[in-house]
């Protein structure tokens, strides 16, 4: 696969994966702001998934 296609496909999932890993480990280090990073990361995954689940046929 050409480099440009690779990042076109994997940029968004990679960004979410890195953010999630950072969040899960950050929350181990402290409370408050450290926890919030994990909430943000898992919140984004959940929101993107929900948006996909709620995508319905357009009524024409």
């Amino acid at each position: 696969m050409k480099n440009s296609t690779f990042w076109k496909v994997f940029a968004a999932p990679t960004a979410i994966a890195v953010l999630t890993l950072a969040g899960l480990f950050a929350a181990l280090l402290g409370d408050g702001a450290w926890d919030a990073l994990s909430w943000l990361a898992m919140g984004i995954s959940t929101a993107v998934s929900l948006k996909g689940l709620l995508t319905r046929k357009k009524l024409s």
């Binding site: 696969m1 296609t5 690779f6 496909v9 994997f10 940029a11 968004a12 999932p13 979410i16 994966a17 890195v18 999630t20 890993l21 899960l24 929350a27 181990l28 280090l29 402290g30 409370d31 450290w34 926890d35 994990s38 909430w39 898992m42 919140g43 984004i44 995954s45 959940t46 993107v48 998934s49 948006k51 996909g52 689940l53 995508t55 319905r56 046929k57 357009k58």
Partner: protein, 366 residues
């Protein structure tokens, strides 16, 4: 990617998924209530109710607590005392017929640290949540059950990795998060499988891998006993069996002196899995959020209450310590628990849609 390469990864994805999906569905379903076990215990009235007393009410010492526990379960042996951060007035006690009795046959209850009154914890010894826990941990099959689930966890990890590889050819011509409900039910669920799988995969990998490590806990503990512990207690190999435990009132003070800056997390009494025949093992946790998951055992001779050793912590015991919060999702407050449950449900959707997609494709091929 060559079409032959795709076919090969596709076969890996299909078979690793098929092998583990039913087990993973069971784990995801039983794990869901376990995320909220604290809240559920409180709601059902299974959490011990402590009497209101002044905050500075004096605490019983360890000897008095042991006496209170033994009076509550006459004829049984002490196995463990454990402290919980959110229950500062209580000490959790675990007792059984003998110190070496396996954990599922033990009895767990709470002692009021100020009065010594015993408070039952029904959900720690049976009932719905215990059924969920046993299914989740070993399916009532002991070590073979745990190892089978560990193997299923590894299959799950392989399924995720092969899924990442296959994501590329599927998504080459589609923008991220494409869902096409207008095409067909199969295409809609294929898109959702790819989308939800892609955004939940790092969480699923973390929970999957830490689950595998937790499932191997028995093996890691055996290895720790053979490596670190055995060296420390070698001088006791030919010692006569312990007949009388020394007064234990100062046990914690002694452990805190041996491991400065640390705090007792639990005590393993002599003869249990986590101590020796001749020792108390006081497991000390670090003071920071991170090091509170890493436990350092302090071995104290039970016959004379003298320090024997501070046992070293091999890397795999630290890995086990960190695998627990990362698997349970209990270290980031209620928002983390809720999101943990949301990702658990999303994983169920990925597993279910995967099964559905395999089934529809199979019928087309046939």
């Amino acid at each position: 990617m060559k079409s032959q390469t795709i076919r090969r990864w596709s076969a890996i994805h299909t078979w690793t998924s098929l092998i583990c999906t039913l087990f993973l569905l069971m784990l995801a379903l039983t794990g869901l209530p376990l995320i909220f076990h604290h809240q559920i215990d409180h709601l059902l009235g299974n959490a011990p109710q402590f009497k209101a007393m002044p905050a500075d009410a004096p605490r019983l010492n360890l000897d008095q607590l042991i006496k209170a526990a033994e009076a509550h379960r006459p004829g049984e042996a002490m196995q463990y005392f454990a402290w919980e951060e959110d229950e500062p007035n209580g000490v959790m006690a675990i007792m059984a017929a003998t110190p070496g009795t396996e954990p599922n046959s033990s009895h767990t209850f709470m002692l009021d640290a100020r009065t010594g009154e015993a408070l039952e914890m029904p959900s720690a010894n049976g009932g719905f949540m215990m059924v969920m826990l046993r299914l989740h941990v070993d399916m009532y099959a002991g070590l073979p059950g745990k190892l089978l689930l560990a193997f299923m966890g590894l299959m799950f990890v392989l399924a995720i990795v092969s899924g990442i590889v296959l994501y590329a050819p599927f998504m080459r011509r589609l923008p991220f998060a494409t869902v096409r409900p207008e095409k067909s039910t199969r295409i809609r669920w294929l898109d959702l499988h790819n989308l939800i799988g892609a955004v939940t995969l790092s969480w699923a990998l973390v929970v999957g891998l830490t689950g595998v490590i937790n499932a191997c806990a028995d093996l890691l503990i055996t290895s720790w006993r053979n490596d670190s512990l055995a060296a420390m207690i070698a001088p006791y190999r030919d010692a006569p069996p312990l007949t009388q435990r020394a007064q234990a009132a100062d046990l914690l003070k002694l452990a805190e002196t041996a491991a400065p800056g640390m705090q007792a997390d639990f005590i393993a009494f002599p003869g249990t899995l986590l101590s020796s025949e001749h020792h108390y093992a006081v497991f000390m946790k670090g003071a920071s959020q991170l090091t509170s998951h890493l436990l350092t055992p302090v071995l104290i001779d039970a016959s004379n209450l003298k320090l024997t050793a501070v046992v070293e912590r091999p890397w795999y015991m630290d890995a086990l310590g960190l695998s627990q919060p990362l698997h349970f999702g209990d270290y980031g407050g209620l928002p983390m628990q809720i999101l943990w449950a949301a990702l658990d449900v999303l994983t169920i959707l990925v597993l279910g849609s995967g099964l559905y997609l395999w089934w529809v494709r199979r019928r087309v091929k046939a």
